[in-house]
Amino acid sequence: MTDTELSPSTEGIVIDDRSPLFDTIGMFYKEFPSDLRQIRYFTLIIVQKSPPEFQEVNLLEQQIGEIIKNAIRHGNRHDRTKKVRAWYSFTDNEARLIVEDEGDGFHALERWNEFLKERNRCFQRQDFERMAAYVSFRSEHSSDDDGGNALFAAVEYWNGGVVFNERRNRIALRKIFARIAPGIGIDAGQGQS
């Protein structure tokens, strides 16, 4: 997959069954029961496949956990007879994740995209009074402990694209890590005369 295939996601999440992000060839696969109590364990199973050189592994774990949590909570509605299926792969500079639930799909996606656009407008203008109405996305299925903010961070974090399938019960995400130029240390440029 090349960088030209990236789909920008900061303007919203697209629906595209044909996205290369749904290609599962060469990816690891795991099924999980819909049990939120084990969310950290599920996530660690995935993250342990990441290269030891990966920066910000805590953040990667957190972001993967949010996607699986959404599948359990909003997709499978905590029904333990329903599974969450996950495909994942890592290279030196990329993390990919596909998560599928057995639910009816994210039907509020268009409303969420509009919500995100307005939220981003408020942020760009630094209009925090207005932004107060756009900090948490709520749907008829939101519970009290649902922060309503996980996907806002996801579209920023997964900078290689965030895509739903037509049925909206499968999400694919790609994160590209910045490469550090070889031979240039973190202190490069400092202390030079």
Binding site: Q62, K69, F123, F128, M131, A132, V135, G147, F152, A153
Partner: protein, 114 residues
């Protein structure tokens, strides 16, 4: 996750320690509710010992900010670091939430505003 409460004059400080997630963020919410109900002079949440936060934890920060704002009570979140700060940045809540680098700076701001 552990919550340790202390005071600096009329300002209450909660030291949050551990991971703030779906299973325990309600405890922080309850503590904030209790303090706000007791008419405090200000609240500082010290996140110096928090290395993990999920969307539920972020939700409690948003809730606390809204509650204290409507109550016209000084509110600061201090010592955000590492992946916790990154999550707040990714969620674009820097600027929206009252984030201050250190507890001393937060106390100075509160006392200076009076």
């Amino acid at each position: 996750m552990e919550l340790h409460k202390r005071t600096s004059g009329s300002v209450h400080i909660i030291d949050v320690k551990g991971d703030l997630d779906l299973f325990n963020s309600h405890k922080l919410k309850e503590s904030v509710n209790e303090l706000v109900a007791s008419n405090i002079g200000g609240l500082i949440l010290n996140f110096g010992q928090v290395d993990y936060i999920d969307s539920s934890g972020v939700g409690v920060l948003i809730y606390s900010n809204s509650l204290l704002k409507s109550n016209r009570t000084f509110f600061h979140i201090v010592q955000l670091h590492g992946s916790v700060r990154r999550v707040i940045e990714l969620t674009k809540l820097i600027g929206f939430l009252p984030i201050t680098d250190t507890e001393d700076a937060a106390l100075k701001q509160i006392h200076g505003a009076r």
